[in-house]
């Protein structure tokens, strides 16, 4: 583990370069503890790059990365773009409004056309679960899933784990409470897979209407009592509540949601003294989280955003590394 953390700063020959088991990052599903640890350790070295006066290394020089965002995203897209630029990749970003998709072209055709111009990696955000899996069957490029429908958001879970590890120096055995819209959340699914693989104790909490079917097979504890979820927690993670959900009869009003499930200072007192509070963003202040908690002493929400760049640099580096990135120059 510690050798991985130092790896990018030391000259390494290609044949012992660390590798992920898959050539794509489609999700946390299919990754084992070694893969996850490798990414987190590599991200530690990458984070150091962001602290330099000149925040740029030539690692991905000459590589082309396409950011293909079929859903609005500010945080994730910016984070990937900064990560790519710090690694010296050539990047371009495409948003749906400017692509051929609005002219009726299929996803497969859009991506085949992009591939004809030989990018090395495609980072994709898409509203349909499984869209990156479809691409991985028809593309030569490495596919990085930047969020697919209600399925997975693997780099978010990795940056969450990275942030937790920075504070707690471990993942194993921590009580992590995840509270909010469990049903529609891709962040939840990736976090459940990752934290379960790494041996954390997971508690999920939300209104009964927003608990996914088959939750008993997720390997977690589920409760509709926020106090039970927060009790003794090392980590409290809030998930975004989309206000439109009221229209699907999931809860009667934002006001009542906050009354029953909003995270307040008072509720947080049940957690451990050194609890950290996380949120993948974008936040709804006064819905799932009170401003006093979001901006309070336990909040690491902005650290998550900062760490996102380092974690995405690590992912880009490790996936490109399979084809021989300039490891020694980092």
């Amino acid at each position: 583990m510690t050798t991985h953390a130092q790896l990018p700063t030391a000259p390494v020959s290609r044949d012992v370069a660390p590798r992920l088991k898959s050539r794509h990052l489609l999700g946390i599903a299919g990754m084992d503890a070694d893969d996850i640890t490798l990414i987190l350790d590599t991200a530690e070295a990458m984070k150091e790059v962001g602290k330099r006066a000149i925040k740029k290394v030539p690692t991905l020089r000459g590589r082309t990365v396409v950011n293909l965002f079929f859903e609005p995203s500010t945080r994730t897209r910016t984070s990937f773009e900064i990560a790519e630029k710090r690694l010296s990749a050539d990047t371009l970003s495409i948003a749906t409004a400017t692509s051929s998709v609005s002219k009726g072209e299929t996803l497969a055709d859009t991506v085949r056309n992009l591939e004809a111009m030989s990018p090395d990696m495609i980072v994709m955000r898409h509203a349909s679960s499984g869209a990156p899996h479809l691409l991985s069957r028809i593309c030569r490029s490495a596919i990085i899933n930047a969020g697919d429908g209600m399925h997975e958001h693997p780099t978010q879970a990795l940056l969450d784990a990275f942030t937790i590890r920075e504070h707690k120096h471990r993942l194993q055995g921590l009580k992590v409470a995840i509270i909010g819209d469990l049903l529609h959340s891709r962040v939840l699914r990736s976090n459940v897979l990752l934290l379960n693989t790494m041996g954390a104790e997971l508690w999920l909490c939300g209104p009964a209407t927003l608990l996914p079917a088959g939750l008993d097979r997720f390997g977690v504890r589920a409760t509709t009592s926020i106090d039970e979820a927060v009790e003794g927690a090392d980590v409290v993670m809030l998930l975004r509540i989309q206000q439109e959900r009221m229209h699907g009869h999931f809860f009667p009003s934002v006001r009542e949601y906050f009354t029953l499930f909003g995270m307040t200072d008072e509720r947080l007192r049940r957690a451990k003294d050194d609890v950290i509070v996380m949120h993948p963003g974008p936040m709804n202040r006064g819905v799932e989280i009170d401003s006093s908690v979001a901006d309070g002493p336990y909040s690491v929400i902005l650290e998550q955003v900062a760490n996102g760049v380092a974690v995405r640099m690590a992912v880009l580096y490790l996936l490109a590394g399979r084809e021989g990135a300039e490891v020694q120059d980092v």
Partner: protein, 440 residues
């Protein structure tokens, strides 16, 4: 012309016949069934004693797509697929473009079917105009034009009141109402069975209750009206319970199950090919308990019919994100291998029961001719080699569409010979036929 199928095992549940018999066909009709029949100039098709000679198989739930969606299937390609799969007759659903809610469209379908001259085609008409659920279609005129039943398939008969009136009115005409049972509000924009796999894959769920709630409504309304309701493509264990309870109290309710619902479960969505759109159908592949309930219903007699819900879609339409892909798979050419491999050889049902589900009961439930080899009936005959091992090859399907999740499956049991009205409509490689029999 005379022909004799000699040496096979005749299985005809309607006539309570199961044994080694010769079948003599003359002038398109079954002339005689017996042992050691004199040849008397008939062309003899000699088959092994293990091969099954059955009344022609009938698939009562097929989408032929014509008129309007000929890029998916035509009446000619769909009936070619039918006879290649061992079906001598199919009943076709009205959700074409335009919807078959009018005698003129029914007549068009029958004309195209006569031109194709392969399998018999029995049109099913729409219950409501445009299948919009607002106003009854002209069921009487459609019946007179040749419709055998009515449905708004693709969607449920919209309201309890419309269903009540449709049952009363169609009952007067002696035609069943077939319902695609699904509560639209519970289905929502779901694309997969609501359960662990949909949750893990981030797919919007459709609970089994979305189906059974409507089945319970329909059973109650069939009870109220004394008319016959037929539940299409049943998939949920709760629905089976509702049908069973209706039958126990004498309600005229019948039901069908599609081969994919007694073979596959939602688990297959998780791989080896994740998000395979050929595993997307409506109703969705359900969980193991539901699949096992379908098997139990097939075995104990609660399920009346196996029908394929043959739903061709063009490859381009399926080569999209899972939630954007259309529902449905082709089924005509995989049904017999799946029934024999997964039901008969697996010990779930007997050969006799398989023929009941594929021929006897479809004819009985929809009041169709056939379903038996009784003397003097039209010579619709399906010959099956229960031991022939085949590997499903989607590219080799006769259907214009290749959307099957069974590609590459090796299965034991295949239809060998399909005879419609005394004419050989399909012969598999390996059947010894005089050239004269094949010329049309």
């Amino acid at each position: 012309m005379k022909m004799m199928i000699r040496g096979g095992r005749v299985v005809d549940p309607a006539a309570d016949r199961d044994g080694a018999f010769d079948v003599l066909i003359e002038d398109g009709r079954i002339a005689q069934i017996g042992r050691g029949l004199p040849v008397n100039g008939a062309e003899v098709i000699e088959i092994p004693g293990t091969w099954i000679v059955a009344p022609g198989l009938i698939d009562i739930h097929v989408h032929l797509r014509e008129p309007g969606q000929e890029h998916k299937e035509t009446i000619a390609s769909g009936t070619a697929s039918a006879v290649a799969g061992g079906f001598t007759a199919v009943a076709c659903m009205p959700n074409t473009e335009p919807i078959n809610d009018h005698a003129g469209i029914t007549q068009f379908i029958l004309k195209k079917a006569a031109e194709a001259n392969l399998a018999r085609v029995y049109p099913i008409g729409a219950v409501s105009r445009g299948s919009m659920g607002e106003q009854l279609a002209e069921l009487g005129e459609q019946k007179a034009a040749g419709c055998i039943a009515f449905t708004d398939d693709g969607r449920p008969v919209a309201t309890a009141l419309l269903m009540r009136r449709a049952l009363e009115y169609a009952g007067m005409l002696g035609a069943p109402i077939i319902d695609h049972c699904e509560d639209p509000s519970l289905k929502g924009d779901g694309v997969a069975h609501e359960g662990y796999y949909a949750s893990a894959l981030g797919l919007r769920g459709i609970p089994g209750t979305a189906e059974s709630l409507m089945v319970e409504r329909d059973v109650s309304l069939a009870e109220l009206t004394g008319s016959h309701v037929h539940i299409a493509h049943m998939s949920a264990r709760q629905s089976l319970r509702a049908v069973r309870s209706g039958k126990e109290r004498g309600v005229q309710v019948t039901c069908e199950v599609a081969p994919h619902h007694f073979t596959l479960t939602d688990e297959s969505l998780d791989g080896p090919v994740k998000y395979d759109t050929n595993l997307k159908m409506n109703p969705p592949l359900r969980e193991r308990a539901d699949r096992d309930a379908m098997l139990a219903g097939l075995a104990d007699g609660t399920v009346d019919v196996i029908a394929t819900d043959h739903a061709p879609h063009h490859a381009d339409e399926k080569m999209v994100e899972f939630d954007r892909a259309p529902f449905g798979i082709v089924g005509l050419e995989t049904a017999v291998p799946l029934v024999f491999d997964r039901l008969v050889h697996a010990g779930v049902i007997t050969v006799r029961r398989a023929i009941e589900l594929l021929s006897t009961n479809p004819a009985r439930v929809m009041h169709l001719p056939g379903g038996t080899l009784a003397d003097s009936g039209a010579a619709d005959v399906t010959v099956i080699d229960p031991d022939r091992t085949i590997t499903i090859d989607s590219a080799a399907l006769r259907s214009r569409s290749k959307n099957t999740p069974f590609h590459g499956w090796t299965l034991r049991g295949a239809s060998m010979l399909t005879i419609v009205g005394g004419r050989i409509a399909y012969a598999a490689p390996g059947v010894n036929l005089a050239d004269r029999l094949l010329s049309r």
